[in-house]
């Protein structure tokens, strides 16, 4: 029964062209991240060469190379911004669409008068959504590897591919969380638009507001993969810093930076610990989704937009 629901959901997403649209956007995003990474690297190299030339002409010594030995995967550092920014919104849309028709079109009335439990049905939907996100991220992985080959002129090593795989695995978990949030808000509201806006509100709070409260990171600062360290010496942050480990977007970014070697090096055990709040959130939101689905009143007719 789960397979039946999952198969139907996969066909539905593909048939709504949402799959193609999300795939296209994510691939565009990956290509853009690669391009920006190459551009920024290229710019810094040029700026450094120019600075060396100017300083030498003025009899001054060459400045330290600000890039040092930049790891090849740092080319994709913008992905760690685009995944929580764009990827999460796309995941919300996918999650939303997976349950929207049953709610807004009243199709739940036809489904749940059949011998299928709500838990089974929901599980099938989650399997489909997870598979769709995995397929899309797999395509993004291929694009990333192609970008690395084109820019670096060589195929990534096994270790680098492993790191990339790890990064995409982490991103899949992150996107799955937001897909579930998209499903929760469908069940918690009656109208399509309200569900979408509620999920968007949750995304804004998790992506912008929580990092500001826990780490002083301003909203626009979190859009740059390279951020200035923020002074958090105030007593306010002394209190809120305890919540930092629960800020899924921050933990995701820092874990991603560690995996792609674009951030300050830390032991793998620390990176692993950063994934725990994400896993916890997944379980929590998953249980919430199941609970809401079991209690939801599917007996009402079409509720419209």
């Amino acid at each position: 029964m789960i397979a039946t629901v999952a198969r139907q959901q996969f066909v539905a997403l593909r048939r709504q062209q949402i799959f193609l649209a999300v795939l296209a956007i994510l691939l565009a995003m990956t290509s853009l991240a690669g391009f920006l990474g190459w551009m920024s690297h290229h710019t810094v190299v040029q700026a450094y060469d120019e600075a060396v030339r100017i300083l030498a002409a003025q009899g001054q010594p060459a400045p330290p190379d600000p890039l040092g030995l930049k790891p090849p995967l740092s080319l994709l550092s913008n992905l760690a911004v685009y995944i929580p920014l764009i990827g999460a919104l796309l995941a919300i849309v996918v999650g939303h669409l997976s349950l929207a028709d049953e709610q807004a079109e009243g199709i739940g009335r036809v489904i749940f008068t059949r011998p299928v439990s709500r838990t089974t049905f929901l599980f099938g939907k989650v399997v489909a959504v997870a598979a769709v996100l995995a397929a899309i991220l797999a395509a993004s992985l291929v694009t990333s590897v192609a970008s690395l080959v084109m820019v670096n002129g060589s195929v990534p090593s096994a270790a680098e591919l492993g790191r990339l795989g790890l990064f995409y695995g982490l991103s899949w978990l992150y996107l799955l969380l937001f897909a579930l949030i998209g499903m929760v808000t469908v069940l918690a509201t009656r109208r399509r638009s309200l569900g979408l806006l509620a999920a968007l509100g949750v995304w804004m709070v998790l992506t912008f507001a929580v990092p500001q409260f826990t780490s002083g990171l301003r909203p626009t600062a979190s859009l740059n993969p390279v951020t200035d360290p923020v002074s958090t010496s105030q007593p306010f942050f002394g209190a809120t810093a305890h919540a930092r480990s629960f800020s899924v977007s921050e933990q995701y970014k820092q874990a991603a930076a560690q995996i792609l070697e674009t951030g300050t090096a830390e032991p793998w055990s620390d990176t692993g610990r950063r994934v725990l709040p994400l896993l916890g959130a997944l379980v929590g939101v998953g249980l919430l989704t199941g609970g809401l689905a079991r209690r939801h009143d599917f007996s009402t007719g079409p509720s419209g937009d």
């Binding site: 853009l32 100017i54 849309v93 509620a198 390279v226 360290p229």
Partner: protein, 319 residues
């Protein structure tokens, strides 16, 4: 006016709008609070310095390094991000509400022209945006005074009012965008998704690309600082990236949000280089951004009028 009142009342009853507004106000308060706490201690330090200088008979004192209005940076950024979503939502609701209740044919059967319908809708939205920005501004100013121990006064009030006006203009443009896209969509929820996609591009992606491509943002603390370059040396380096900078700034210029942000940051002393400028100098410096805001406002405003003229009372086949 009746239409404007109807629009205002309907929006005020929308739970989602009220919730998003609460999120906006709370995040603004928190962001201003964080800055104000730090500001208070630095203000106390400066005051102590002034007292010591007075006691020592020193008359030449360093000007205050503090910029009170700069603490509103977070408020401006949240208006830019969350405020725009609220505005789009309002524009979407203006259309979907009339579609769902099928009242547009009833309105059209009254002696009310499409222009009047558009004006009434816009006035109602203006009322909502003004309420929203006022709530944010009052919360922020009170926070500055109570927690930062420094109240906005004098020339700062004028700058704040101009920022206030720019914020309302910014939000009205997004309201118009939400309304226009929803009116042109067969299914309103699809229109909302498209409008939010445009929001993502205008407010987040284009500025992000512009920021990411900014050479100075490539390393923490600034590239030119890392290269130990002073301002003239930095300008010399940048002069070799003319084409690059043109493309980068063109990308940023394409974002309406960036123009609003630049204007607001200049008025609120967020950008240090504008501190000390007179109001006239500021407005002159920012004429490009002001010009773009006017252009966008007029274009979207005309779009709303066109939408009301062209929109059929009931879209074909729409639910």
């Amino acid at each position: 006016m009746a239409l404007a009142r109807h629009e205002y009342r309907a929006a005020a009853r929308s739970r989602v709008l009220v919730t998003l507004t609460a999120v906006l106000v709370l995040t603004t308060i928190a962001s201003v609070y964080i800055g104000a706490v730090d500001y208070r201690s630095r203000l106390a330090d400066y005051q102590a310095y002034l007292d010591a200088a007075r006691a020592g008979g020193i008359t030449q004192v360093a000007p205050s390094p503090l910029a009170l209005l700069s603490l509103l940076r977070g408020a401006v950024e949240y208006l830019e991000i969350i405020g725009a979503v609220i505005a789009i939502t309002l524009g979407y609701l203006s259309v979907s509400r009339e579609r769902t209740s099928r009242t547009l044919p009833l309105l059209r059967s009254r002696p009310v022209s499409p222009g009047e319908l558009a004006a009434g809708s816009a006035l109602g939205a203006l009322g909502i945006m003004t309420t929203l920005v006022t709530a944010v501004a009052v919360a922020a100013v009170v926070c500055l005074g109570v927690i930062g121990h420094d109240w906005v006064g004098g020339a700062e009030i004028v700058k704040l009012l101009l920022t206030f006006a720019a914020s309302i203009t910014y939000l009205m443009v997004f309201w118009a965008l939400g309304l226009l896209v929803t009116a042109r969509s067969r299914v309103a929820a699809t229109g909302l998704m498209v409008a939010l996609g445009l929001w993502l591009v205008i407010v987040l992606i284009l500025p992000q690309i512009g920021d990411t491509l900014d050479a100075d943002n490539q390393v923490p603390g600034g590239l030119f600082a890392a290269l130990n370059l002073d301002k003239p040396q930095e300008d010399l380096v940048v002069s070799h990236f003319g084409a690059y900078e043109t493309v980068r700034t063109d990308i940023e210029e394409a974002s309406f949000a960036k123009h609003y942000e630049r204007f607001a940051f200049a008025l609120t002393d967020v950008k240090e280089k504008y501190r000390g400028f007179s109001l006239g100098q500021l407005l002159d410096e920012k004429r490009n951004d002001i010009g773009w805001m006017v252009v966008y406002s007029l274009a979207l405003g005309y779009g709303v009028l066109w939408a009301f003229r062209r929109t059929a009372p009931l879209p074909e086949g729409a639910p």
